[in-house]
């Protein structure tokens, strides 16, 4: 069951690398915010699974709205002359690290619990 998301990631990478469509270089910046947002959603989803409060609707809506809003906000910031782009990068970066830390904690706890159980 863990293999399916990994498989999905590989499929996504293959689609992304085979597609020949090019976006203008000006929009690469917004695209990178969307990438961060999606990574954040992936780790957030894994964390919520481990913490047993996973909700598919929350994950999917969060994924799309976060990516879109981040890109829009970065664009708006550029129009206004404020680098909101960095705010988005910072916010998502911090969240990704927090999620990763939470995942690590959970995995270690699970591992220890399993070990304790097997010892008994």
């Amino acid at each position: 069951m863990w293999l399916l998301p990994v498989f999905g990631l590989i499929i996504g990478v293959i689609i992304g690398s085979t597609i020949t469509f090019q976006i203008p270089l000006i929009y690469v910046k917004y695209m990178s915010v969307a990438v961060l947002a999606s990574l954040d959603s992936v780790f957030g989803g894994i964390r919520s699974v481990l913490e047993d409060h996973f909700d598919g609707a929350v994950l999917l809506t969060g994924f799309f709205t976060n990516a879109l809003l981040a890109a829009l906000l970065a664009y708006l910031g550029d129009r206004l002359g404020v680098d909101l782009y960095y705010a988005a990068v910072f916010a998502f970066g911090v969240r990704i690290f927090q999620n990763l830390a939470a995942i690590r904690h959970k995995l270690i706890l699970q591992y220890r619990n399993r070990k304790l159980r097997s010892l008994r």
């Binding site: 990631l9 293959i14 689609i15 992304g16 690398s17 090019q22 969307a34 992936v42 989803g45």
Partner: protein
Amino acid sequence: MTLTSKWVLPITIVCIISGFFLSFQLKVLANSNTTNPLSQRNTNLVVIIKDLEEEIANQEMLLEQIRNDLANLESRALPGDLEILQNGLRDARIIAGLTPVAGQGIVITIDDNNEGLKSNPQDDPNKYIVHYEHLLNLVSELKVGNAEAIAVNGQRLITTSEIRCVGNVILINTTRIAPPFVVQAIGSPKHLAEIVTNGELAIMKSTNYPITLVENDKVIIPAYRSDLQFRYARPVKGSE
């Protein structure tokens, strides 16, 4: 089982899209590193300029050929008054600079002060390159010295010729010329040499530009090759 399958599908979807974004972004960035759009544009412009210059050279060759044919046709003996008109025309052409001319004169060669720049690499390079003002002053002094025909790097100077700075090259007759600059002038060699060595050349020598001045018994100066048409100027009636 139902509990585990609940989260597998959404996470898989998110993973697919994330993977897509990731590889797409990586690919775009990898492409943008290899082809800088600005340098791409510059190379395109350079190619366009080179093509156009080649085209100009071809057209000028054609023009010169036609002018030669015209000269041959005109040099045939003609009856009566026409010969006087023809001589007048020939004189006018020589004055306008449309015919190659030869005669006594001087040849001045000036180049950038590369050695000076090499020994002072921290200094402003502008102090060591030949600027269009140098050529302009030199040409003006030659004109003061009654030079009858002047050419710089093979570009004949006529009444409409410009000497203009465009970045790191100089335009003369809308043709790019670059150092070393060879200034040919027909006139009294002694007189011309005297006037320039006491003027612009003295200034340039004092800042160590490499300069040579040769007095020559036969300097050949090419004809003006480009377009020469008056589209706006008309002779004033009654002035003749």
